[in-house]
């Protein structure tokens, strides 16, 4: 470690505040980007599934009247 003089507390304060503010701001932006990208992924997936053909339980027209009585 370097030998620090009587003004060292001011240096450490200034450096600490800078590191905490910039680090915190960077992490905040990073997590916010992750969250909004996840939401964008959800919306996109929902839109893709809405656009896809829907599988239904409807019977084909030839069997619309139900199974023939045998």
């Amino acid at each position: 470690m370097p030998v620090l003089d009587h003004n060292a507390p001011f240096l450490l304060w200034a450096f600490g505040i800078t590191a905490v503010v910039l680090g915190g701001y960077g992490l905040y932006l990073w997590s916010r980007l992750k969250a909004v990208k996840a939401r964008l992924g959800d919306y996109s997936a929902r839109n893709v599934s809405a656009a896809a053909p829907i599988a239904t339980a409807a019977q084909p027209a030839s069997r619309a009247k139900g199974p023939s009585a045998l």
Binding site: D5, F10, L22, L29
Partner: protein, 230 residues
Amino acid sequence: MTTRVLGFASLLLLAANSYAIFFVARPDRVQGDAARIVYFHVAMALVALFIAFVVVFIASIAFLRTGDLKWDRLGHASGEVGLVFTTLVLITGAVWGYPIWGTWWSWDPKLTTTLILWFMYLGYLMVRSYAEPPRGPRYAAIVGIVAFVDVPIVYLSSYWWRTLHPQPVIGPLADQQPSSSIVWLLLLSVVAFTVFYAFLVRLRYDIERSEAAVADLGVADLGKVAHAST
């Protein structure tokens, strides 16, 4: 991909810069260890004044000319990061000033014009956030152009008026060139903070773009619901 590269590069450069500030830089004969504050205080000031706010100025003009929202997003991202840097410049300047000047704050031309700059870019972000689109981005762009007038005033204030603040140590207007080791360390700081600025602006820009896409998809979803219910 670019975001990750910028993130790793800025992390490495800032780590190297911190090492250099504490282990390579020598304390000043008069100021002692407080002189080491200058390496990040000056670097953040240069990046805020000559990169962040210049980008806001150019993006504001481009937005008013083209109406393309990408310029508005870029200006907003750069303005926010520039404001964070300016806030830290004011704080670290005050922490440096106390042991050197004997006071945390003085209504010195350099400090006063920097505080005015801080309020102007705060106003830019407030107009951008609170005014409804499409007027918000347009009004913010006008504020972004007007606020830029203060940037050269801040830089030249120590030449125009009598001031406590030291004269610039590097650049064409510097009175005396410092030793080469100080210049190299200062340049390393400027490069490290420039890359970190680019990383933060990239993140902020991507957030804006993704939020706009989510809003568009949300509106599209609402449209589908409304269509299905009729």
